[in-house]
């Protein structure tokens, strides 16, 4: 005796959020039933395990049938097969495109290729996320990447319109696309302490300031590729470290600024003589680090190492000197500003554009 066929179809498609999440998480029907039983839904509704199994299978089938549509969210709104209220549609899409931070950290900056997809079982074992869920998330990244690759206009806006995602999620996807396109290295051990949101923030900064889109907003790929001209110009900043005078001048100005007696914060900083002294001692190293990063960005390979460089060349030295973020903020502010008053330094626009991003990225990345 067995149930051979068991279906339930509502005029309005019934979808249980909880089951949807279990499905998205890649649980098998049986595992999902177990989770639901533990969740106590049975006592709540006087149901039996059999009923729960039937319901779960049915929901799973519905989701599978919907999945095709979820790949093109715009279709969900004007398809005729399922009558789903708009708020439900939004929920379905949002959750389908949601991803696990621990998963995205594993693939962020990797090429969204078949090869990477093959390695997903390792990712799955490492993160504890089911392979099925990993695949969905990976395919989502790839799909979004493919679609926006060929579109003109602002990246975030394109993602939001094509995939009907809420603003925050669209921004996250923009970051993923941006990282995948530029192949930023994020997997190194030294970068492990950074969360996806840290990177997403940095990506936002880069997209808004360093891409073509920051200057011209009707170009193809404008938000995914860095502005080549700008990268070229960055080489000119080298003068800040190659010219001995300029370097010294810069150093003293930063020191003066930070030791200005009228600044309360500076007083506080000066109180910590230890930090202050270290800063003075390290100035050349730190400045050289930042400027070298800028100068090398013209090479695609060095772009990939952007984050690792930031950490190695700047964040780690500061951390070993026990700077606080306030110290860091103060230092970077003065470091940026004082370059403008250097007599022989001419590249103010490039410097601002560069340091604005660097500063906010470093501040964001400067934590444990």
């Amino acid at each position: 005796m067995s149930v051979e066929l068991d279906v339930f179809v509502g005029n309005t498609t019934i979808m249980d959020k909880e089951v949807y999440q279990l499905w998205l998480n890649g649980y098998t029907v049986n595992d999902a039933v177990k989770v639901r039983i533990e969740g106590g839904v049975m006592e709540e509704c006087e149901a039996s395990a059999e009923v729960l199994l039937s319901d779960t299978m049915d929901q799973y089938r519905t989701f599978q049938m919907c999945e095709r549509l979820l790949h093109h969210p715009a279709k969900l709104a004007n398809q005729l097969l399922f009558q789903i209220p708009p708020d439900r549609q939004a929920m379905l899409i949002e959750r389908y495109y949601a991803f696990d931070d621990s998963f995205v950290r594993e693939v962020l900056g990797k090429k969204l290729s078949k090869g990477t997809k093959k390695d997903l079982d390792d990712v799955s074992t490492k993160t504890g996320i089911t392979l099925k869920s990993c695949r969905r998330q990976f395919d989502n990244f790839k799909r979004v990447f493919k679609v926006v690759e060929e579109l003109k206009g602002p990246l975030v806006e394109n993602i939001r319109q094509h995939f009907l995602l809420p603003d925050q999620l669209a921004r996250d996807y923009a970051a993923i696309v941006f990282f995948a396109n530029n192949r930023f290295e994020t997997g190194k051990k030294k970068l492990q302490y950074l969360t996806f949101q840290d990177f997403a923030f940095c990506a936002g900064q880069l997209i808004n300031n360093w891409t073509l889109g920051a200057v011209d907003n009707m170009m193809e790929d404008m938000d995914v590729d860095l502005d080549k001209e700008f990268l070229q110009d960055l080489k000119d900043l080298k003068i800040l470290i190659t010219d001995k005078d300029l370097l010294d001048q810069h150093k003293s100005r930063v020191n003066n600024e930070t030791s200005h007696p009228l600044s309360l914060v500076c007083n506080a900083l000066r109180g910590k003589t230890n930090v202050f002294n270290e800063m003075e001692a390290n100035f050349k190293n730190l400045s050289r680090g930042l400027v070298n990063i800028a100068a090398k960005l013209i090479n695609a390979k060095d772009v990939r190492d952007f984050f690792i460089d930031l950490v190695e060349k700047f964040i780690e030295p500061c951390r070993s000197d026990k700077w606080t973020s306030i110290d860091m903020n103060l230092y970077l502010t003065h470091y940026t500003n004082s370059a403008h008053i250097l007599d022989t330094f001419k590249h103010h626009a490039v410097w601002t554009r560069y340091m604005g991003v660097i500063k906010s990225c470093i501040l964001r990345m400067y934590h444990d």
Partner: protein
């Protein structure tokens, strides 16, 4: 050339990729009607083609318009090989032929392929220009309205109810033709779909002709069924109730408002408006046919090909139909007879129509199928049904009733054996809506509209004038009148216990009442109702031909008897005394028979309180045995108490006064009038009157009783917050919210071989119980909620498989609203409120129309356009709505959520939508689809396959309704769901037939805002109305 059909192909979207090389499609469209075909240009390399074709015009007879569907085929152009078909759309243009239904079909319709399912959508525009045909002998019946709804549709009033109409057409099933061996499954499926479309069209046309002949203009409770007889052919049959309907909003004011001011979309409505001011003019203008020529066709049964004349379910058939000549003689007069003892497919009636209810009458007959030799002369099948109807008629007569209401017919086929079933409720009707001769209609019609709904003094006058003979009915209170026995108490056809009515104390009522109709709205009910099901499974030996038919027909009476015992037990267990909407389905398989009886139990205040159930043991000496019995008894008593509490059954205590029942001792088992004389004997035989006076006795050591008790105790209660019924209204619940969820659920269960009857019963019962439990679980978010119109269909698709399909609607209600002061009174006020509301609307309308000529109100634009029709009213509402939408379908788009381009279409098996008012019926939806696959596993197995298919069917129904301009389907039902699988070959096939009424509804809250402004004026008018 009385009609011109015009079609325009606008665009396509979401087309499938047909060219793998380019990932695109070169699509074009063929538009076919009858033998004429037009083609669009090829729109190259696109999945979203924009054809924007010219108008393709077909000049055709209206007969063809009724029979044929418009067939749209989307193809992929291929230069070198044959063009590939993407899919098809069949459009039933019938709704466009009726002046009061839809005017245009326009919208996105799914492109359907029987192998691949839905493959994109196509946007089409279809219109019909009809020229008036004055030919008296025409074969078409354009303009007759069809409704699946089994009550008078909400925006109409019944001027006259003419009675029963039936027709059947037969044909060879394309699937069984020789050509099927050489053609593709797709071609065969399409041939079948098309044939059934044609046959339904023809059937509808023929029924329409009968209606015109009777002087009616509409068919209500239209029930069309298919019998897939396999080798022997395909039968499409339909029954319905012919009526003369009148739109409620027709008022003299319309005459003063010529329709030239109404917007173009009302052009088709408007001509109808003027004549209808004089009541039902259409009755007279309809052509009168030479009755003899048509009538002869249906009844000329000359060759008695009944292989099993005696096998028809029973003795009474033998008595009446035995001498077949007598039957034939009777049939020649049947036109008259049908009026005298009319059948009505209606289940709900205008107030005052239903006088008394006798009880359920049913008849079954087992037939051996034989190839239909001449499709044009479907005599055999006609004769079969005639025979059964005669039997029903005589049963009703025996119950002292002249009519059968809530009438339906069904079949169950297994190989060459076919069980024909018919059932209904014997009743006495008021002659108010039924006139024999069409001659005095004018006289009556002038008054009739006033009689129907109004409660003023005029009504009594009207009645007295026309039907003085029925004077006694006037004094009966409507809340209990229908319970009063129609039969002579000294000559009861079955043992019964009569008491004086608990409401009026004047007339006698039975102790239990079984009916197939809906609970009358005016009925006095105590507490809430609930779904009651009796389920039974009986094994039978595999047999062939006559032997098989004999075996089945000898099993049938037992099956029915046991189903009734079960129903009675379960009814008593719930402390209730009446069943409504009783539907007994018997399904036949090779090795078993399935019986499923569903009904809604209620406590009718007029009927006596049911006695308990008492268990009696055979050997009372044994102590352990007695203990067993007493625990069982206690369990039962507890359950009854619990149920009484659950369903709020606490009738006022009354002193019992049982009046001398003519038959002193025996208990009455069931009100169902049995067709088998043997089985009635059994009733009294088994009815050993042990125990207390009014307790229902079950003997424990009787194996059947053990089974019954088991079944009683295993019926698990519905979870908190849920109620269920299989009728239109749930007694005791009125405050519905607008949240409704229609659903279909199908389960197929595989049995082990060699099961005993008990084992089978248990499995079948569990299957139904578990299905219900699953439904409750699925719909838990809607609590408090009631599953209404729960319609179970069982089938035995093959050996050892049981299929159960359920279609129902879950409706939420507000618990908060106080229900004190007796539920029934609350309900009555609600009903009254609705009728009053109707009247108010009419008055408003009249007032609006009158005042607008000299005193334009706040929105003169809207008012100047108020025609006679509610549809016109709707358009004024549209205008008044703040939305900038000006198109005719703005109602629909109002409803659609912003951001979504697909209009929401509600579906419900009920005839109404809670919290909303239906303002227009757009026509009947009757669709038939076949889906087949040879990659079953890839499509998710049988469940995946059927799930997709049902979802597709829903989608197509919704799309067609939306294209008609509607936003809901009411009285929706899935009449056929035939599923066949062959997992070894990775194949499956499914046929689904659905029907319903496409409607436009508006939320009552939206209506209110417009009626407020004329509220004060309304009271004036109604006062004035009383004075005159």
């Amino acid at each position: 050339m009385p009609g011109k059909l015009k079609a325009k192909i606008v665009a396509g979207r979401h087309l499938p990729v047909m060219d793998r090389a380019s990932d695109l499609t070169d699509a074009f469209v063929e538009v076919k009607f009858g033998n004429t075909t037009f083609k669009t240009d090829v729109y190259p390399k696109s999945l979203n083609p924009q054809w924007n074709s010219e108008w393709f015009k077909f000049e055709v007879d209206d007969e063809d318009l009724q029979d044929e569907p418009l067939q749209i085929t989307v193809l992929d152009h291929d230069t070198y090989s044959a063009n590939d078909a993407i899919g098809k759309v069949y459009i039933d243009i019938d709704p466009l032929l009726c002046s009061e239904a839809a005017t245009v079909i326009s919208g996105w319709l799914p492109i359907y392929d029987t192998i691949h399912g839905i493959r994109g959508e196509i946007n089409v525009l279809v219109k019909v220009d009809l020229f008036n045909d004055l030919n008296r002998f025409r074969q078409s019946s354009c303009g007759v309205k069809f409704f699946c709804t089994t009550s008078i549709p909400r925006c109409y009033r019944a001027v006259m109810v003419h009675g029963f109409v039936e027709e059947l057409v037969v044909n060879e099933d394309p699937e069984y033709q020789w050509i099927d061996r050489i053609r593709t499954p797709r071609a065969s499926n399409e041939a079948r779909q098309r044939l059934i479309f044609l046959m339904s069209g023809e059937l509808q046309r023929k029924i329409g002709l009968k209606v015109l002949e009777m002087g009616g203009n509409a068919v209500v409770g239209y029930l069309q069924c298919f019998d897939l007889e396999g080798e022997s052919g395909l039968v499409v049959r339909a029954i319905g109730t012919a009526c003369t309907l009148e739109k409620i909003s027709t008022f003299p004011a319309t005459a003063t408002h010529p329709n030239n001011s109404s917007p173009s979309k009302d052009m088709k409505d408007s001509p109808q408006a003027a004549p209808s001011t004089l009541g039902c003019r259409s009755t007279h203008s309809s052509p009168v046919h030479s009755a003899s020529s048509r009538l002869s066709q249906g009844f000329s049964v000359s060759v008695p090909t009944l292989l099993f004349a005696g096998m028809g379910s029973g003795g009474s058939a033998g008595k009446e139909a035995g001498p077949l000549k007598a039957l034939l003689r009777q049939q020649t007069q049947s036109a008259l007879e049908q009026r005298e003892y009319p059948f009505f497919t209606l289940t709900a009636f205008p107030p005052g129509f239903l006088l008394h209810v006798g009880g359920v009458v049913s008849a079954r007959s087992v037939k051996l199928l034989d190839r239909i030799h001449n499709p044009d002369e479907p005599e055999t099948r006609d004769a079969w049904w005639e025979e059964i109807r005669q039997e029903i008629k005589s049963h009703a007569k025996a119950l002292g009733c002249h009519a059968v209401v809530g009438y339906s017919e069904s079949t169950s086929i297994c190989e060459e054996v076919c069980i024909l079933s018919a059932s209904g409720t014997a009743a006495v009707l008021s002659s108010r809506f039924m006139q024999d001769g069409p001659l005095d209609t004018e006289h009556r019609l002038s008054r009739q509209p006033l009689c129907v709904f109004s409660t003023g003094s005029e009504r009594v006058e009207g009645d007295m004038g026309s039907s003085a003979s029925l004077g006694f009915e006037e004094v009966v209170s409507p809340g209990c009148g229908f319970c009063h026995i129609p039969y002579d108490e000294l000559n009861i056809p079955f043992p019964a216990q009569l008491t004086y009515c608990y409401c009026c104390r004047r007339y006698k009522v039975p102790d239990v009442l079984f009916t197939t109709i809906d609970l009358p709205t005016e009925a006095n009910v105590t507490g809430k109702g609930c779904l009651i099901q009796a389920r039974l499974c009986r094994t039978k030996k595999k047999a062939q031909g006559e032997g098989n038919a004999t075996a089945i027909s000898s099993l049938l009476p037992f099956l029915e008897y046991e189903l009734h015992t079960q129903l009675m037990n379960k009814l008593k267990l719930r402390g209730m005394n009446a069943l409504f909407g009783l539907r007994i389905q018997i399904s036949v398989g090779e090795t078993m028979l399935l019986g499923l009886a569903s009904a809604t139990g209620v406590y009718l205040t007029a009927l006596p309180s049911p006695g308990g159930i008492q268990i009696a043991g055979k050997t009372p000496s044994d102590i352990t045995y007695e203990q067993h019995i007493s625990t069982m008894q206690k369990k039962i008593n507890d359950t009854i108490d619990k149920n009484k509490e659950l369903y709020e059954i606490n009738p006022p205590e009354v002193v019992e006064e049982i009046i001398g029942s003519p038959i002193p001792e025996p208990r009455q088992r069931s009100r169902l009038f049995r067709s088998h004389s043997e089985s009635s004997d059994e009733v009294s035989e088994l009815d050993l009157s042990h125990g207390k006076k009014d307790a229902f006795v079950l003997e424990i050591d009787d194996t059947d009783a053990v089974e019954d008790i088991h079944a009683l105790l295993t019926d698990s209660p519905t979870p908190a917050g849920f109620y269920s019924c299989n009728t239109e209204i749930m007694p005791g619940i009125q405050n519905w919210t607008s949240a409704i969820q229609m659903f279909t659920s199908v389960r197929v269960f595989r049995l082990n071989a060699n099961l005993t009857n008990q084992g089978l019963n248990k499995i079948f019962s569990d299957l139904c119980e578990n299905l219900l439990k699953s439904l409750y679980f699925k719909l838990r978010s809607m609590v408090p909620c009631c599953l209404c119109h729960l319609n179970f269909t069982v089938a035995i698709p093959e050996d050892e498989l049981i299929q159960v399909a359920v279609t129902a609607v879950a409706m939420s209600f507000d618990k908060e609203q106080p229900l004190e002061n007796g539920k029934q009174s609350g309900e009555k006020t609600l009903i009254k409120a609705i009728t009053e509301n109707d009247e108010q609307l009419q008055f408003n309308l009249e007032l609006n129309a009158e005042t607008s000529s000299h005193n334009p109100l706040s929105s003169p634009k809207g008012l100047s356009e108020v025609g006679s029709h509610l549809s016109a009213r709707a358009s004024s509402l549209e205008k008044a709505s703040p939305l900038p939408e000006g198109r005719s379908r703005s109602l629909r788009s109002n409803r659609s959520y912003s951001g979504s381009s697909v209009a929401v279409v509600k579906m419900t098996p009920l005839s109404f939508i809670p919290g909303a008012k239906i303002i227009k019926y757009l026509g009947i939806i009757n669709m038939f689809f076949i889906r087949e696959t040879s990659s079953l596993r890839e499509e998710g197995g049988v469940s995946g396959f059927l799930h997709t298919f049902i979802a597709e069917v829903f989608a197509m129904v919704r799309a067609h309704v939306a294209a008609l301009g509607g936003n809901a389907v009411v009285s929706y039902s899935m009449k056929e769901c035939v599923f066949m699988e062959n997992p070894n070959k990775n194949q499956a096939q499914c046929l689904i037939n659905v029907s319903g009424d496409a409607v436009i509804f508006v939320r009552e809250s939206e209506l209110e805002s417009t009626s407020v402004q004329t509220q004060s004026a309304t009271t004036h008018t109604s006062n004035g109305g009383e004075g005159t």
